[in-house]
């Protein structure tokens, strides 16, 4: 295994960087999109709520691979040529955002309704109450499940391998096919994924403690 790591380090390292880049982009994107759709889901406007729910139900109930393939094939047909990395990252972002929307929505709904009532009864607007009172409390509740989503996201980024995204999984496949040493290669790849996910895991735990 060490042999493989040493010999194919440039390939694996560039794969790791692609995986990291795609994951970071998708993490930021899905957090923003997910939060947006969470607020749509709890909106009092019927149509806004409906659109939010449809988005979430569609994208969390279709396999990630299908979503990603869809973007890989469809975007070039209508908009512009995209490489595997971009299509994969878009698919990953949208897929994950559906789960994050549900996580954030659950967090907001877990905050006692009395908090909103008290804020409104002192004349705060809905938005002021959300920003000042509800959302900060919801974030705290949301951190642990959000951590799960982020870790899943990093691992799910291996979907890029199917659309030639040159990520860690893709490079691992190449190395395995070149060396025929499948077991050692995937062991090395697995360890390299841990380099990404373990610190993330610890960081989320740290956040959880600090905010508690």
């Amino acid at each position: 295994m060490i042999n493989i790591l040493v010999r194919y380090w440039p390939e694996l390292w560039s794969g790791l960087l692609s995986t990291l880049g795609s994951s970071l982009l998708a993490l930021v994107g899905s957090l923003i999109l997910g939060t947006l759709f969470a607020f749509m889901e709890i909106s009092s406007h019927r149509w806004v709520k409906f659109i939010g729910r449809v988005y979430v139900e569609v994208f969390r109930n279709i396999p990630l691979l299908v979503v990603t393939m869809f973007f890989y094939v469809v975007i070039p047909m209508f908009i512009a040529k995209v490489n595997g990395f971009t299509a994969g990252t878009i698919g990953l972002t949208i897929y994950t955002s559906a789960f994050i929307a549900e996580t954030v929505r659950a967090g907001i709904e877990a905050v006692d309704t009395g908090q909103m009532e008290a804020a409104r009864s002192t004349g705060l607007t809905y938005t002021q109450a959300m920003v000042q009172i509800i959302f900060p409390q919801a974030i705290k509740i949301t951190i642990p499940p959000l951590g799960n989503q982020f870790i899943n996201l990093v691992k799910n980024s291996s979907v890029l391998a199917f659309v030639a995204g040159f990520d860690l999984m893709y490079q691992g496949n190449v190395v395995a096919a070149t060396t025929f040493n499948t077991s050692d290669t995937y062991l090395a790849v697995g360890l390299m994924y841990l380099i990404l996910t373990l610190p993330l895991s610890y960081f989320m735990r740290y956040l959880e403690k600090r905010l508690a």
Binding site: Q115, E117, A118, R120
Partner: protein, 244 residues
């Protein structure tokens, strides 16, 4: 001068008829206590004054504003009519001081210095100046409720609504909260209080309202209500809560 007027107000929650043809006028400076068995519509009536419940039909006028009117700014009414809840509902993520200053800063546009100074004065009034930096989770129920009253007062409201303010408290905490409420009443605040604290009612309230099954069954000044309740159900209810 009337502050709160109910005209033929009805409220349904689905099929449940929560308020039945309520007609009621509460004047500026009055202290009104509402009593009645649970499920009688007391809280619903109180919450509708603050717009936390909408009404199904009829007319509800607060400070000459019809709250069903789309042009009425509900936030403006809520600014003038404060509410104190059974479970205090202090903002869990804010310190005691921030709980009090948030409304004045965001809604009344007071600057930080002024809002803090006023908040400290109010904390003095409720006897909790030393808790300014504490989080609500560090307070006892009675302390939380006194902070909640200070928070409502910070908006300089014209009326305060109390929804069973002592029902969630341990017995030894109730006195402190009632003392604060008495102080507020003596300042001339218009108050509508849902409570079963008959001592408080006798001492402070000008007027008592008895509700059952969504109706106002009796509405009388405090003395004559306690001396001779006209309604049989009011009589029974009184004897139950006084002689236990």
């Amino acid at each position: 001068m009337s502050m709160i007027e109910f005209h033929n107000v009805e409220k349904y929650f689905g099929d449940f008829h929560a308020l039945k043809n309520i007609n009621l006028t509460i004047d500026k400076g009055e202290v009104v206590v509402i009593i009645g068995p649970s499920g009688s519509g007391k809280s619903t009536l109180l919450r509708s004054i603050n717009g936390l419940n909408t009404i199904s039909s009829g007319k509800l006028v607060i400070n000459n504003f019809d709250i069903a009117d789309k042009k009425t700014n509900m936030n403006k009414i809520r600014r003038d009519v404060g509410m104190v809840f059974q479970h205090f509902n202090l903002y869990a993520n804010k310190s005691v001081l921030e709980n009090i200053t948030l409304g004045p800063r965001l809604v009344l546009k007071e600057n930080e210095e002024q809002s803090k100074k006023e908040a400290m004065d109010l904390l003095d009034l409720v006897g909790l100046a030393d808790k300014a930096e504490s989080l609500p989770s560090m307070l006892s129920g009675g302390q939380e409720q006194r902070v909640a009253i200070a928070r409502s007062l910070a908006m300089k409201p014209q009326a305060l609504l109390f929804d069973e303010p002592t029902s969630a408290l341990d017995p030894e905490m109730i006195g402190d909260v009632l003392d604060v409420m008495k102080k507020v009443a003596h300042e001339g605040m218009t108050m509508v209080v849902v409570t079963h604290e008959m001592g408080f009612a006798q001492e402070v309230a000008n007027r008592l309202i008895f509700m059952a099954d969504g109706e106002v069954l009796e509405d009388d000044d405090t003395k004559s209500f306690f001396a001779h309740p006209k309604e049989e159900r009011a009589r029974q209810f009184l004897s139950k809560i006084i002689n236990h």
